[in-house]
Amino acid sequence: MADIKGTQLIHEYLRHNKKFPHVFCAGCGHGIVLGSLIRSIHGLGLAKDNVCIVAGIGCSGRLAAYVDFNTVHTTHGRALTFATGIKMAKPNMHVIVVMGDGDSMAIGGNHLIHAARRNIGVTALILNNNIYGMTGGQCSPTTPAGSYSMTTPMGQMEQSFDCVELCTAAGANYVARGSVFHVNKLDSMIMEGITNPGFGVVEILSPCFTQYGRKNKFKSPVDMYHALKSKVTPLERFNAIPEAERGERVPSGVFVKKDKPGLEEKFYEMAARCQGGE
């Protein structure tokens, strides 16, 4: 399997007994994230049995059903708590949590900040499509102010969450933001997130045309990808632009990279110390 690449590689990692094509709408970025996740795991050379994908509820939750790893499809917002348990029981397992923006920052917001505070060694992929896609297009904590959704037909008035700032402030070891348009960079971010010790967060900007795009004057999924291409700016270039000229630009890249040991490492070290002392 070493010499195969691209789509051939992805087909090797899918559960072909599941119903394909997958449930995502035409042009949904989640499919691209699924491909990127598989390429990253293959690129790191991890065994299928050594990887556990934990997913919550929503469109992003479906990702776990299609891949041939150990997978758990959990309750809404509690993906990180299940992942914490798995990681503490099996510290050598690579636990990857796939969450949507609602799953991670709305109902699971408390779990996210505490997982970051604890620095538990799991990697969280937050698929941010600015909307609750599967439940009918309600506004989510990341819906930008002024944009339209099913529950804000006159425009969103609330301020939105910045996932990167939230996780940085809470103390995550690795924080990055990528987009589904810049796939090669996304692959490297996911790989780095998995290998870095402690809690890693990769926020992935993934457009939702069906629920968000159609209400916000995008004519086709392609328009959303064009917007993503023009908005997403590498962090170094973003910092060089004066604040008044930044406009709608979104910085992407690695924001935080620390080497602090994860909670499970500390725990097993303490357990060994206690056993040795008795």
Partner: protein, 101 residues
């Protein structure tokens, strides 16, 4: 990165998996693909393909495969899909003709 030469690659689209989002056709630098009247992506100028890999990486449905023309070693899973892709509706047409006849 491989050398970008035209005409070295074979582009295959699995029509059963394609949902017709149009990302491949819109962003292809060589304009190899187009959406047909059924809204599915079709290869129209395969000889122009420079094997940049954009379509393969960005297809959310894993419906596009770009491979070297000389490469015969295709995994069994993909071979089954390729067989299906090359004869998308042939069987159905024959059956419908028989029924009508």
């Amino acid at each position: 990165m491989s050398v970008k030469r035209k005409g070295q690659s074979k582009v295959t689209i699995f029509p059963d998996w394609c949902k017709g989002c149009g990302i491949c056709a819109a962003f292809c630098p060589a304009k190899v693909m187009e959406l047909n009247d059924q809204g599915k992506a079709v290869v129209i100028r395969e000889e122009e393909c420079i094997n940049c890999g954009f379509c393969e990486l960005h297809c959310p449905d894993f419906a596009i495969m770009v491979q070297p023309k000389v490469d015969d070693e295709i995994p069994a899973v993909c071979r089954a899909l390729l067989k299906k892709a090359s004869l998308p509706d042939a069987g159905k047409d024959e059956e419908s003709i028989k029924e009508k006849g």
